[in-house]
Amino acid sequence: MMKIWSMQQAETAAAGQKKKKVTAAQLRVQKDLSELSLGSTMRTHFPNPDDILNFTLTIEPDEGFYKGGTFNFNFSINQNFPHDPPKVKCTQKIYHPNIDMEGNVCLNILREDWKPVLNLNAVIVGLQFLFLEPNASDPLNKEAAEVLKSNRETFKRNVRTSMAGGHFLGENFHRVLK
């Protein structure tokens, strides 16, 4: 090693040294985006196409309780991705046992079960699944979870009513129907 820095200090010429380099997080997101399978029920929107770390995912379930709705999620990914999971929030106020009124989502792989080997596709599959099979055992909206557990018909009616938007069960829901 000694030979390497024997005498003089390194020269610091070479043009373009201060140019920013594509970051490891950008590279990984780029790879994940190329592997995304959105199918016919999902689409993405990039408010600033140069910034791939921030985008919206729209899910339009074609079956289940939430069929016919349009649901938007904000994805915000930091420079420590994939060590850190993406931050995902629902931008609308909706009635869902695993999503609270602030849009927080209870999905295990977004928090306690996130691993760097998981990719964005795993996350969007997980989100899609929440609309097909809302999960009463991991509630963020406790009231909705109770209803789902005790009476699926009432739950279904509540979902439909809330999806039309307006004041219901003490909350102002967003209209998510087309």
Binding site: M2, W5, Q9, K19, K21, V22, A24, Q30, D100
Partner: protein, 423 residues
């Protein structure tokens, strides 16, 4: 300079030992390297205090230290270069002054800033970088920077990176020779992810005081102070979280929420044990000394071990092994190659030319620079948004010497090119 103080140290430099390389010449030359070496220490916290002290006591004389933090009263139990009167002052500065005062002849230059504030010209000045950080993000940044700085024609551009880390009774010391041996990014899976509690537990059935604090941070803050950006260094913000957490803990009959626990949870303070810091810092500094003087074989020699893990959880266990370089590492797997291009051709023409390059033969490339999404094959909406770039000239999209990363579903790894404009 009188070297009486260094008599013991000089014995290692003035004669060969059983393990020294047969080509090594003891005496003036290794001493000269030690005195000339310019060392950068990143972090002046628990590990950093130990590292600075050790380097000075190992005969290094030219040290820089970077740390953006100021001294908090909770640091005083183990960050022994700081005193009560220093609370609120920059760590880098106080640590530097303290060590300079105690060890005659050492110069320590402090920088109270983020590592990201310094450019490559700055990092290029050093012989070696030693990290004593608690942030994975900062480690990844300096690693990528040092890997990116390596110029095959200039051996001085290769800066060994010595990295120490501790968590409770556990720790590791590792050495990276950027581009030659496994890098921090190759080893990302060695960091255990932060243990997280399911969001629904926080929201519905908190069981521990920490759950109440996390609830205040994630849910209450968003509900009530959405428009303020949470700053975990702002005492008013921490106090607010503390009072919210306390209310919630009372509601669920959970004892134990305190202000300092709130601070610990929201700042994700990892429990630090002074002795673990001392062990890991000592190991890092010994390696730095050996790398610099070649007096003995060091951790991280290519094709040998490069990673020492230490665990004091169950008696003492240490294990030193070789972490292999990953071929598909996004940082060191494929280094940026200079590529001469005509700045007047369009992006479409450039992409077509990539398909013809023998080493790449990229069929469906996606390209970006740090600042710009040049062209994305998918998802469909991004493809549509970036399509207009295909007919733009390269000179409109990138600047001379800028790096472009190219990925293609046919390849596991990304290609990086530094576009050099042909005049």
């Amino acid at each position: 300079m009188a070297r009486a103080r260094w008599a013991y140290l000089d014995r290692v430099l003035n004669r060969t030992g059983p393990f020294t390389d047969p080509d090594w010449v003891p005496g003036e030359a290794p001493l000269e390297s030690l005195l000339r070496a310019k060392i950068l220490v990143i972090g002046a916290g628990g590990l950093g205090c130990e590292i600075l002290k050790n380097l000075a006591l190992s005969g290094f004389t030219d040290i820089h230290v970077i740390d953006m933090d100021t001294i908090d009263v909770s640091n005083l139990n183990r960050q022994f270069l700081f005193r009560q009167a220093d609370v609120g002052k920059p760590k880098a500065e106080v640590a530097a002054r303290f060590v300079e005062k105690r060890v005659r002849g050492v110069r320590i230059t402090p920088h109270c800033c983020k590592i990201q504030d310094m450019d490559e010209d700055y990092y290029m000045k050093f012989s070696m970088v030693i990290c004593g950080l608690d942030s994975i993000e900062a480690r990844r940044w300096i690693n990528a920077t040092l890997v990116g700085m390596v110029d095959a024609d200039d051996p001085d551009s290769l800066k060994p990176l010595v990295d120490g880390g501790t968590e409770g009774f556990k720790g590791q010391a590792r050495v990276v020779l950027p581009t030659m041996t496994s890098c921090i990014e190759c080893q990302l899976d060695m960091h255990a992810p932060r243990a997280a509690v399911p969001l629904c537990t926080l929201a519905t059935i908190p069981r521990q005081p920490q759950h109440c604090i996390e609830w205040a941070q994630i849910i209450a803050w968003e509900e009530e102070r959405k428009d303020d950006v949470l700053d975990t260094d702002d005492p008013e913000h921490v106090s607010w979280l503390y009072s919210k957490a306390l209310e919630r803990a009372n509601e669920f009959n959970i004892p134990g929420v305190t202000y300092s626990m709130t601070q610990g949870v929201v700042k994700n303070i990892i429990p630090a044990i002074a002795s673990t810091n001392a062990i890991i810092a000592a190991s890092c500094c010994n390696e730095a000394f050996k790398i610099c003087t070649s007096s003995n074989p060091f951790l991280g020699t290519p094709e040998s071990t490069n990673y020492m893990m230490f665990s004091g959880d169950d008696s003492i266990y240490t294990y030193t092994f070789e972490h292999l370089k990953k071929d598909d590492c996004p940082v060191c797997g494929n280094l940026a190659r200079p590529l001469e291009v005509n700045p007047e051709i369009t992006l479409r023409e450039f992409i077509e030319s990539l398909a013809e390059r023998p080493e790449a033969q990229l069929k469906k490339p996606t390209l970006r620079s740090e600042a710009k999404s040049l062209y994305y094959q998918s998802p469909p909406q991004l493809e549509e948004q970036t399509r207009p770039n295909l007919d733009k000239k390269l000179s409109e999209l990138v600047s001379n010497g800028e790096e472009v990363a190219v990925s293609d579903p046919a390849f596991q790894i990304d290609f990086k090119f530094k576009l050099v404009f042909k005049s």
